[in-house]
Amino acid sequence: MKTLKIEELSKNFGSTEVLRKINLEIDEGNFLVLLGPSGCGKSTLLNIIAGLETINEGNVFIDDYNVSKVEPKDRNIAMVFQSYALYPSMNVRENMIFGLKQAKTSKEKIEEQLEKVSKFLQVDQLLERKPSQLSGGQRQRVAIGRALVREPRIFLFDEPLSNLDAKLRVEMRREIKKLHQQLKTTVVYVTHDQTEAMSLGTRIAIMNHGVIQQNDTPENIYNKPSNTFVADFIGSPSMNLIKGSLKESSGGISFSVSGSNVEIPIKDYEFIDKSNLNNKEVFFGIRPEHIYFKKSNESDFEINLRADLSEYIGHEQIMTFDYANQEILAKFPSTIKIELAKETKLYFDLTQTSLFDAQTEERI
């Protein structure tokens, strides 16, 4: 039984296609993050799961029960919003029990739940306050509390941290993580912040233009991006995508860039499809953090590149190198001194590379 299952879901606003044939499954207790640039449809998808938006095609199942036409209140979900959406005229207590009262829960049960949750979230001292008398972090906590008291099957979070300042955001992120570890509930969480997605999610679904690009664990999203969009979207700075071609010879497969005679051997790479590799136009992907200044593995590939630009950002520096007129970014500790406009010896970590078809931009 899947806690949440989305099947061939499509959604249009007039003639604009917002979601296209979305398929998604979440197991009990998983933390799924919907990640993507603004306008990719992730919030719409969340609203559809909540029942706040209608569906044009496809179905939504919660616990194998088709809820596509079920009212939001009957879906056994709870949602935390970006603006917290606390009812301004009610105090914290009234805010938290509003849903239970609507559901005609017994007084004793309401009190019990309220006490349990408010203690758990440390808002039990604030129960008589109005939302306007709370700080950003407290509002956030009350909003989560309002969701918790209902003991829903699925928690929906719609960019809950983006209204907080940077420091508080990191704190609240940890609290949400702790919360999930303790309660082990199923969560769907929407964000455009990749750090949030990586640190919170047990699974991440990356979306773009209404299509899920990759739905995988954070490790696989980072290490084995399924296309150039994902490769480019995750990581800061993003993955270097070097355009070139593959060559198959008796010595094995190698990658080279036109205008350079350097041949990078592709040895232990796990190809999805090994056929037709010779002369294939590809993007060779390597992350800036996987280019080293010192050789650290036996398989590291030595290459000489000209340093063009240095960006100092405190604990590290981002260097831009020239590789046959293509820019290569690399991240080093800021203690290393590299002279500009000079050839520098670098090492590519070949265990950490990705290859993409230059035409389809898919991983090969």
Binding site: L52, M79, S83, P88, A103, R146
Partner: protein
């Protein structure tokens, strides 16, 4: 040497700017007092005239001070002279106006709030057209709808009654009240409504429990606006009612323009002030909120 020269010239400049500032300040006060008196002047004439006897009015000038606190004309304006036919006085019409204005303000404000709520929080296909047509209602000259409205009131059987006037004022108030409430609710985050829907609240519950409690500023604005409009209305009152059903503004007109005897300026002035007092009271009591409601709109969650 040079330093002391410099500092003395600075002192001179400082003196000069002090004089200039003083002059400008006095000039500013002068202008302000001038305009203030210009606006207060008619009211002054009304008040002093209402307190004079007819004898004094004939002999004195417009501006002269009354000989004493003579409230007789006020009593006459409010309660009449006590003889039968032809004696027009304001009291019954004042209550007519109250009976008209209270329900009309209530219904138009309530319906406007509802419409504003639907137009912002329960968007539907073509809602912007509905809003546009409602806006047209704000700009239609009321003279243009007098005849169709008279017919409608006739068909409904409420012509020449306070109920009819309540209906007319409610209907023609809705465009304005909708505009006010719509613009206010636009700034209320829609996420509030979404949260309430997930919590299981329906259409009316969300309106009464979530939105209405935070609408105080705009309710005050709307009530003041509607009260002033309806209380001061003469066109609808004079067209759709006559005799005993007339509101106070119509009665005031009938009193002042009756050509039976000598013009009693003191009674006329007293009547005009009585007719204007309720709106003044509303402004004095709620004016503070009026400004606040007009300038703020954003609700911080």
């Amino acid at each position: 040497m040079q330093d002391s020269l410099k500092s003395s010239s600075y002192q001179q400049l400082e003196q000069k700017s002090k004089y200039t500032n003083m002059f400008l300040r006095w000039f500013l006060y002068f202008i302000l007092i001038l305009f203030a008196s210009y606006f207060i002047f008619p009211l002054y004439v009304m008040v002093v005239t209402s307190l004079k006897t007819m004898e004094e009015i004939r002999q004195g000038t417009l501006l002269s001070w009354p000989s004493g606190l003579n409230l007789e004309s006020w009593a006459v304006a409010w309660g009449g002279r006590g003889y039968g036919a032809g004696d027009t006085f304001l009291r019954p019409y004042f209550w007519n106006s109250i009976k008209m204005v209270v329900p009309a303000v209530f219904f138009s404000t309530f319906i406007g709030a509802m419409t504003g709520y639907v137009l912002t929080k329960w968007r539907f296909k073509g809602d912007q057209w509905v809003f546009l047509f409602l806006l047209f209602g704000c700009f239609i000259p009321f003279q243009a709808i007098l005849l169709p409205m008279a017919r409608t009131l006739g068909v409904l059987g409420v012509s020449n009654s306070v109920v009819g006037l309540v209906l007319v004022h409610t209907v023609y108030g809705i465009p304005f009240t909708t505009l006010f409430f719509r613009n206010y609710y636009v700034s209320v985050p829609t996420e509030l409504v979404k949260a309430a829907r997930i919590d299981g609240a329906g259409f009316f519950k969300i309106f009464f429990k979530i939105l209405l409690p935070i609408s105080a500023p705009i309710i005050v604005v709307t009530v003041i606006w509607q009260f002033t409009q309806i209380w001061n209305d003469f066109l609808f009152g004079s067209t759709f009612s006559f005799g005993e059903a007339a509101p106070i503004q119509v009665a005031l007109n009938n009193m002042v323009l009756s050509s039976t005897s000598v013009k009693e300026y003191n009674v006329d002035m007293a009547s005009a002030i009585i007719a204007g007092i309720p709106t003044l009271i509303v402004y004095v009591l709620a004016g503070k909120y009026f400004i606040r409601g007009l300038t703020s709109g954003a609700v911080k969650g």
